[in-house]
């Protein structure tokens, strides 16, 4: 082992195994240390690169921590009103069906204020792809309860822990949208470890392929961390996803239309 490490490195033996994706803008993001928004960005950028989609992609950013997502991708981009990304994406896609339109939305944006827009986009089989970041909290506004906040979870607006008698129960959006006939590909993945991150990337690639093939609505839900507002260390936050979020939001494929398997 030591011998190999100490062996002189020849030019030819150098291999690029990790590069800055072309679709990712070379800028510093504003995300907190340890936040998995950054990982999700990288995965999406790599997927766009691998499918050669950068020059035909339009990214619709949400209102939430990823409000500046359009600054971080080397694609055309815009910033929708809170929850309206699927509607804005619908407008963009309908007038230029040959382009790739991607919405990137948090759980407050997608499950709460934008529930109607995402549900109808899925029902219509809108040929767009949604990257849905579920971090069980409102990150941007400082950690309030989200529709995905777990029962008993403390947030700044559920300081005694989420009381489901008063607030109702968390909404499992992938399961819900999978019920829409218009959705072609709906899966839930997680960003809490390398194995799952790899799976997440594969899913994003498939979702984009679904759009390229014109099969209908595709969404990849990503269980994501918010160490800042969960008030825990980044590594602990990853464990928290695995221990608490995964049991409530089971990972898996909720809708994979037959044609998707052939892609």
């Amino acid at each position: 082992m030591l011998a190999t490490l100490n062996a002189p490195i020849s030019e030819n033996s150098l291999q690029v195994v990790y590069e800055y994706p072309e679709s990712l803008s070379p800028v510093v993001t504003h995300y907190c240390p340890g936040c998995t928004h950054g990982i999700a960005h990288r995965l999406l950028a790599e997927a766009l690169d691998e499918l050669g989609l950068r020059e035909k992609t339009i990214l619709v950013a949400p209102v939430g921590c990823s409000v500046f997502a359009y600054q971080y991708f080397e694609t055309d981009g815009c910033e929708a009103a809170h929850g309206r990304a699927p509607a804005m994406a619908t407008g963009l896609k309908r007038v230029q069906p040959d382009k790739t339109v991607v919405t990137y939305q948090g759980d407050g944006d997608l499950v709460s204020i934008g529930a109607a827009e995402i549900l109808h986009a899925a029902a219509r089989g809108e040929n767009i792809t949604t990257i849905f970041i579920n971090n069980a909290i409102y990150g941007m506004t400082g950690g309030q309860m989200a529709p995905t906040t777990l029962p008993g979870q403390k947030t700044t607006s559920s300081p005694f822990g989420r009381n489901t008698t008063m607030t109702g129960n968390p909404i499992r959006m992938s399961e819900l949208l999978a019920n829409m006939d218009g959705s072609a590909y709906i899966v839930r993945r997680s960003l809490h470890d390398v194995k799952n991150i790899r799976k997440a990337k594969k899913a994003i690639i498939t979702a984009l392929k679904v759009q390229m093939a014109g099969l209908g609505f595709s969404m990849v839900e990503l269980l994501s961390s918010c160490p800042t507002n969960w008030s825990i260390q980044p590594e602990k936050a990853l464990e928290w996803i695995e221990d608490n979020m995964v049991p409530y939001f089971p990972l898996g494929d909720y809708k994979v239309r037959d044609e998707v398997n052939g892609l």
Partner: protein, 359 residues
């Protein structure tokens, strides 16, 4: 092209597509629905985009998306739906993307009713959502004007990269009149250079309304204000009738202005010196012309189908030079020419007696 008998809503829809409308998004609401229905057929026949959205919130945001792609796009609704669209208007205005919105106004507040009203004057002219800006607002008083203003609306929207609204009361939307449609224009093939079409062989384009630094946001606001100043200078439009020797100027827009026209004619038959100013743009309001006229009239009578909204703009333009009287009907009631004539006579009597003149 020859005149045909056309319903206002259908005429606007047909004029829009002839003006090059590429994508329409809307939600049914009376008294606007025929507009949506007409486009649901014609847009599909022409292989263009028609989509019935899940709500007005969604339709205006779909318009925002299509406008960001640089195509001619439009939505239409009536008062309660326009209330719901306010968020989208504000984002659109803050993103410099052009689009057209038609408001076929009905009685309110609340669910109100489906009769004609002009109760949306404030919500369309003042800001249409949060923030400091005004849309351009065109107010037709006939089916022909509705057609002409629809074409104009698209041209103004593109020219200024601005939100343009057509504010017509339900009467204009529902009535049938002989009118002439414009010829069919070809769809634009070129997209503006700022449009979101994919960053192929160019820098990426961004459409956003977000300026986190207050300095940046102020600079953006100054840009909007500079544009509005030019619009205010160039785009004031109005119709004027018998103002030359008028002592009393009757001011009304849309259907109220049209009925006021009949009242002014009746007053003239009685030998009364009355003229009419009918604003065709509500923003920019024809303030320059009104302030000129204020130098030579004795007073004004504002007629509206609301509790008095445009009257604020009249007062601002007149700046206290002459008294301003008001006659209005609300809740979907339409003023009758005789009622306006009575208001004209009462106003004149008051003005003459205040000046010590014989009536």
């Amino acid at each position: 092209m020859a005149k045909e008998l056309l319903k206002g809503n259908v005429a606007i829809a047909e004029a829009a597509l002839r003006a090059g409308l590429e994508a329409y998004f809307g939600y049914p609401i009376t008294p606007q629905t025929e507009l949506l229905e007409h486009l649901s057929k014609r847009m599909i026949q022409l292989n263009r985009v028609f989509l019935q959205a899940e709500s007005e919130v969604a339709s205006i945001n779909m318009v925002y998306g299509a406008a960001s792609a640089g195509v001619r796009t439009m939505t239409s609704s009536s008062s309660p739906g326009i209330s719901l669209m306010q968020e989208g208007f504000s984002y659109i205005a803050a993103s410099d993307v052009p689009c057209v919105v038609v408001d076929i106004m009905r009685g309110g507040p609340g669910l109100g009713n489906i009769q004609p009203s002009q109760g949306d004057y404030f919500q369309v002219t003042r800001s249409a959502g949060h923030g400091d800006y005004h849309p351009i607002v065109l107010a037709p008083a006939s089916v022909q004007e509705a057609i002409d203003f629809t074409v104009l609306a698209f041209d103004l929207a593109d020219k200024y990269r601005h939100l343009v609204m057509i504010a017509a009361d339900g009467q204009i939307g529902q009535m049938m009149e002989p009118a002439e449609l414009p010829p069919m224009r070809p769809i634009r093939t070129e997209r503006p250079e700022w449009a979101l079409t994919g960053a192929k062989g160019r820098e990426k384009n961004i459409v956003t309304s977000l300026f986190m630094q207050p300095e940046e946001e102020e600079a953006f606001n100054q840009k909007i204000q500079a544009r509005l100043k030019i619009i205010r200078k160039n785009e004031q439009r109005w119709y004027e009738y018998l103002t030359e020797d008028a002592d009393l100027l009757v001011i009304g827009f849309g259907t109220a202005g049209r009925i006021a026209y009949s009242a002014v004619e009746a007053a003239r038959e009685k030998g009364l010196k009355v003229g009419l100013l009918r604003p065709q743009t509500l923003w920019p309001f024809p303030e320059d012309r009104l302030s000129e006229l204020a130098d030579r009239i004795r007073g004004c009578l504002v007629v509206e189908m609301n509790a008095g909204q445009m009257i604020d703009d009249v007062r601002l333009a007149i700046s206290g030079q002459v008294p301003v009287n008001f006659y209005g009907r609300m809740g979907g009631m339409i003023p009758m020419p005789d009622d306006i004539l009575t208001a004209i006579e009462e106003t004149l009597t008051r003005l003459y007696s205040a000046a010590g003149l014989p009536i």
